[in-house]
Symmetry: C2
Amino acid sequence: MKDKPYVIGLDLGGTNSVFGIVDKEAKIVSTVSVPTAGHGTADNYVKNCTAALMPLIEEVGGITKIKAMGIGAPNANYYSGCIEDAPNLEWRGNIPLVKMFQESLGIPVVMTNDANAAAIGEMTYGAARGMKNFIEITLGTGVGSGIVVNGQLIYGSDGFAGELGHVIVEKNGRDCGCGRKGCLECYCSGTGIARSALEKLANSRKPSVLREKLNSKLEAKDVHLSAQDGDELALEILADTGRRLGEACANFAAFCSPEAFIFFGGPTRAGELLMSHIRNAYDENVLFVYKGKAKILLSELDGASAAVLGASALGWEI
Amino acid sequence: MKDKPYVIGLDLGGTNSVFGIVDKEAKIVSTVSVPTAGHGTADNYVKNCTAALMPLIEEVGGITKIKAMGIGAPNANYYSGCIEDAPNLEWRGNIPLVKMFQESLGIPVVMTNDANAAAIGEMTYGAARGMKNFIEITLGTGVGSGIVVNGQLIYGSDGFAGELGHVIVEKNGRDCGCGRKGCLECYCSGTGIARSALEKLANSRKPSVLREKLNSKLEAKDVHLSAQDGDELALEILADTGRRLGEACANFAAFCSPEAFIFFGGPTRAGELLMSHIRNAYDENVLFVYKGKAKILLSELDGASAAVLGASALGWEI
């Protein structure tokens, strides 16, 4: 470890691939961003990324100073090291990205999905330091989750465990992108919150500044910004979202009785306007043996760098 | 191991405490049953059980031949080694049964709840041999569960993880013994199936042999026995029960993506009349990434000896 004081984190998103060289104190010593699309093949992508990374690697004393690389990516399979049929990336089929970066950089590489990377990041650098049992819930375009039990992330039999955003919470509820109905993420992701705003505006006759947003693109952040200004309808939408999350977490507790549920992502910027409702609904709905045990916490990962830090944390796990 | 070829299993039930001396091939070489109640104090219970066990221990060559003892008991906490406020036992408060048997017998003792013991038994001797990720679901008076991830049983932060019978599957549904409404076990335990029979008889005008049972105590086994004779209403009840279990398991898959769900207990004697509906509802409801992966299996633990075997299997884990 003393000889290899750095890891590389890669946050591979639909638009950009952000690389960071990270030390054990969670300091990102340098960073570089490469567009994810436009390289033609995945081989070219890896070649161009490696070229962009080389100056950063030389700066810290060369590749021998780097322990490993961690990648957080959509549809990433921890076991196979492949990105499997990612609808938002330009590569089709299974891309063995772990093997490709290993060969290109000559260091160990490990990859998992974004939410799992956030959970590992939280355990290494954030609100879950010292915890052995917790659930990270990421609220973004979708709802993701990373579940840690006995200090280990749950990957399951196939590498795809921990899709709590796709637990069905409303029978015959809203259409979900997964092709089914009523998944948690249809209600509690950023997109879900925007859908709730539309529904609320349709059903209610209350005045709300959100009505003025109907001509433009109504987003989740409009809801929490309006709520912070005291908009009653926006406050109701956050209360409904929190209630659903709290009810869902009460069911999740029956699985692994975690020490904490840690919430990460844009919609958590609503702060207590959301979190208080999660806590109340959790307390009201959880089985008596779990009552008063799990904490409901905000992530302590800095939003801007969390994805890179989370991915890099995988590198220390090798 | 060669020197200590046996473990003791204790199935501690509300009525009887059944002890078995078990070898590595899952053969129960001898067994003795002691009434659980009527000993006054827990101290006397342990003393009387030890006296009853001694002849069996001598028979296999003395206590030095015994590696450990495993206990499956209601409200047992794996971490603390205590039975905590068990409503169906005569002892109040926290009973440190592990410590008491350790001192009385002079061998390591480990304890968990009945469903967890069944899961360990299934992994050691039954349908889950060789599996690292599976969920055991026990259908009896209640619905219990034991969840195995990475080859380890999930105990959670407090020793009480894995209460999938208390996942709420129907908002504002049937009253549950836990004080909440709509838990899985209100519908799919033996008791839940009997409740479904009452509801079905109330709502339907179809003839059914179950109507003749309304004067006596209508039980879950009446449902599957009538179903096996072709009773249409009984078949519908099993279909409803299987559908609920399959839908619930589809949600459970999003947690830990298990290789298998293994069903244990009285109501599973309905066989394919129940299991086929679990499979169909699971396939219809599970997220696409998990489709076609998990097996839906019957326990391979012999019903009569499963509880003792399950408890004994804990002894090999030490």
